[in-house]
């Protein structure tokens, strides 16, 4: 699958936006500006973008606790997201959801999700709806290397096969679930094989390489769109931060984090690749960087200035329609 320049620029912009969103969120959390538990996606940008660049229209994604990257990649409004992290009523979820529940259902984002493996069953339902309606939409769920051990994830995979629905299971191996290595938590030696045992093909990608992810995801999505049932994508790529902001990361090996940032940075990789082939110039990429930085700055300023929710907002949005007598 070769990408034209517009596509390359867009992909790079998306990855860079995620990176800067996360790094800025990190800084603001350290400054005490953002409340709650926040899990950053820095380092894994190529996964989200490599997958979501194939999606449009009524295609859906469902994400995880580490959801900012997926949501941005699928097109969530960055300012709305930043305002949401700030807990503002101008946030994408009016400040009611926060980092772990960023969502934009009408635009195909069925939400970040605070429950590990809460998403895959829901995604199968979205895929089922596509099949019932006779569209060729797909439904993508993101899961971590830890979440694949949750029963709901297995159930979703089997059900998707049974119903032959266009569900894409993207498994992101960032080597850890919280403080525990995949080497421990996934009992078998071959997670790809275990997953394929459920009855669908899994396409493996190097998560540091946007192009590799994009290709693997393309195959999986094509498979599903063509009516062949579910498919999987398996990406490997470490996260650059702790599990959550504040994690002391005692589980890291010596120099592990430096190595990750040094040698496994998907943005660096992308830049080297496209400048190497001559498809894009450093200047062009720098220009995108500058625009992204400006966007993030603007998003932060706007979030800071945005209106705060009040007690009057507390009890709305629980139900769509309230019976006369209320609860």
């Amino acid at each position: 699958m070769s990408l034209d320049k517009t596509a390359l620029a867009r992909a790079y912009r998306q990855m860079k936006t995620i990176r800067e969103f996360e790094e800025r969120a990190h800084a603001e959390i350290m400054n005490g500006q953002i409340a709650g538990f926040t899990h950053l996606y820095t380092g894994q940008e190529a996964n989200a973008v490599g997958v979501c660049e194939h999606l449009s229209g009524a295609d859906t994604i469902i994400s995880t606790h580490r959801g900012h990257g997926h949501c941005i990649a699928r097109g969530a409004d960055v300012k709305g997201m930043m305002a949401e992290l700030w807990g503002s009523s101008a946030g994408l979820c009016k400040g009611k959801g926060g980092s772990m529940h960023v969502a934009d259902v009408d635009n195909g984002i069925l939400g970040a999700n605070g429950i590990v493996a809460g998403g895959p069953p829901i995604s199968v339902g979205s895929a089922l709806a596509a099949k019932q309606k006779g569209t060729n939409n797909v439904a993508v769920s993101f899961s971590g290397d830890g979440s694949v051990n949750q029963g709901t994830c297995f159930e979703a995979m089997n059900l998707a096969v049974v119903l032959q629905v266009p569900a894409i299971f993207v498994i992101e191996n960032n080597y850890y679930s919280e403080h525990t290595s995949i080497n421990y938590a996934v009992g078998c030696d071959d997670l790809k094989a275990r997953t394929e045992g459920f009855g669908f093909p899994v396409f493996v990608a190097n998560g540091v390489d946007f192009f590799d992810v994009h290709e693997a995801a393309g195959k999986a999505i094509e498979h599903a769109r063509a009516g062949n049932g579910p498919a999987g994508v398996f990406c490997e790529q470490g996260r650059f931060h702790g599990h959550f902001v504040g994690d002391p990361q005692g589980y890291r090996g010596e120099g592990e984090l430096d190595r990750l940032r040094q040698d496994y940075d998907c943005l660096k990789h992308f830049r080297e690749r496209v400048t190497g082939t001559g498809e894009m110039s450093h200047e062009e990429l720098d220009a995108i960087d500058a625009e992204v930085m400006a966007l993030i700055d603007e998003a932060v300023s706007a979030a800071r200035a945005a209106p705060r929710p009040t007690a009057a907002d507390l009890e709305t949005d629980v139900y769509i329609n309230y019976a006369a007598q209320g609860v």
């Binding site: 009524a58 069953p121 199968v124 709806a129 019932q132 059900l159 007598q325």
Partner: protein, 334 residues
């Protein structure tokens, strides 16, 4: 008007709404039955026969059999609902809620709030609930009392076939997630049920008996017993309001409070155990909002704080009887 059992009334509602709205579909274990076998696909229609005929009429994409994977079933319903469909999932026995609880209470119940009011999840989940079949501890629980505690869910407990049909049609057309508990002891009970579709609004109690002395609130299977209890006391000159809330969330607080204010006495009846249940919920509401009208202690008639036993004798002692309800009414009349 034709007499129909609660099973048939629910089945009819499903047939009618699936015919009227192609976004409606059913999904669950053996809602068709026979898939993959050498026999007849569609042979089951659910273990209680409630979805009978839907497979033949609407085919595999709208009568969707699943593996035994309740979390995936509820999740699939939730996801389809977010994506514009109107699923009616069946979880067979209400007791099985334990294996899909997260999808119900952390996912579908909370989407709208977490997402700042920007989603709709019009999914219905049906359950067969309650005791009465010697089905023992894991197949006899009512569970609606626990789910009533969860903000974001609407919870329906019909007490007769007529209400079941009208409430199910409302449930399917409602844009919020609805849990629909069918007291399985009532599946075979019949009453007059119109052939045409009709709806019964949520949050409006029924009052199958009216009287002056005591307000009796009862849920699901207990409504019939409470009515029998009340009827049996008539010749002692005691008359009661009997209130069947029909939906426990939203709750028709007004009707209950108005009645309590008139009678000054309240007995609440449910087949669930006593702690943090619906009997306490209603009693506590009255002890606040109708306090000044109360003439007697508020009595709760419910199951004991035990799992549901198997042995028929024990189960009979477990579920509130007509006699126990009468005893409570007489006690508040003393």
């Amino acid at each position: 008007m034709p007499q129909k059992t609660m099973r048939d009334a629910i089945n009819e509602a499903l047939h009618q709404e699936m015919a009227a709205d192609e976004r409606v579909f059913v999904i669950g274990e053996d809602v068709a039955g026979g898939n993959g076998s050498d026999g007849t696909v569609g042979c089951a229609g659910g273990v209680f026969g409630v979805t009978a005929g839907l497979y033949d009429k609407f085919g595999p994409l709208r009568c969707v059999d699943t593996p035994i994977s309740e979390s995936a079933i509820v999740g699939a319903a939730a996801g389809a609902a977010l994506s514009g469909m109107r699923p009616v999932a069946e979880i067979m026995f209400a007791d099985f809620i334990g294996v899909c609880m997260d999808q119900i209470f952390n996912q579908m119940a909370k989407f709208r709030y977490m997402f700042g009011g920007k989603s709709r999840c019009p999914a219905v989940i049906r359950f067969a609930s309650g005791a009465g079949f010697s089905a023992a501890a894991q197949h006899s629980q009512s569970m609606y009392q626990i789910m009533t505690a969860v903000p974001g869910l609407k919870v329906v407990v019909p007490s007769n076939a007529y209400d079941a049909k009208g409430l199910l049609l409302t449930a399917i057309r409602d844009d919020d997630p609805v849990l629909f508990f069918e007291p399985k002891a009532l599946y075979q009970e019949a009453c007059e049920v119109p052939d045409e579709p009709y709806t019964i609004p949520f949050g409006e109690a029924a009052m199958p008996r009216e009287g002056d002395d005591v307000t009796v609130v009862a849920f699901g299977q207990m409504v019939g017993r409470a009515a029998a209890a009340i009827d049996g006391l008539e010749d002692q000159g005691i008359t009661c309001d009997l209130i069947d809330p029909r939906t426990t969330s939203p709750l028709d607080a007004d009707t209950i409070l108005e009645s309590v204010k008139a009678t000054g006495r309240l007995v609440v009846v449910d087949e669930s155990p006593p702690r943090c249940g619906l009997t306490a919920d209603i009693a506590a509401m009255a002890a606040d909002r109708a306090f000044h009208s109360l003439k007697a202690p508020i009595k709760q008639v419910c199951a004991p704080h035990t799992p549901v036993p198997f042995s028929p004798e024990l189960e009979a002692a477990y579920v509130p009887s007509v006699q126990k309800i009468q005893a409570a009414i007489l006690e508040v009349m003393r």
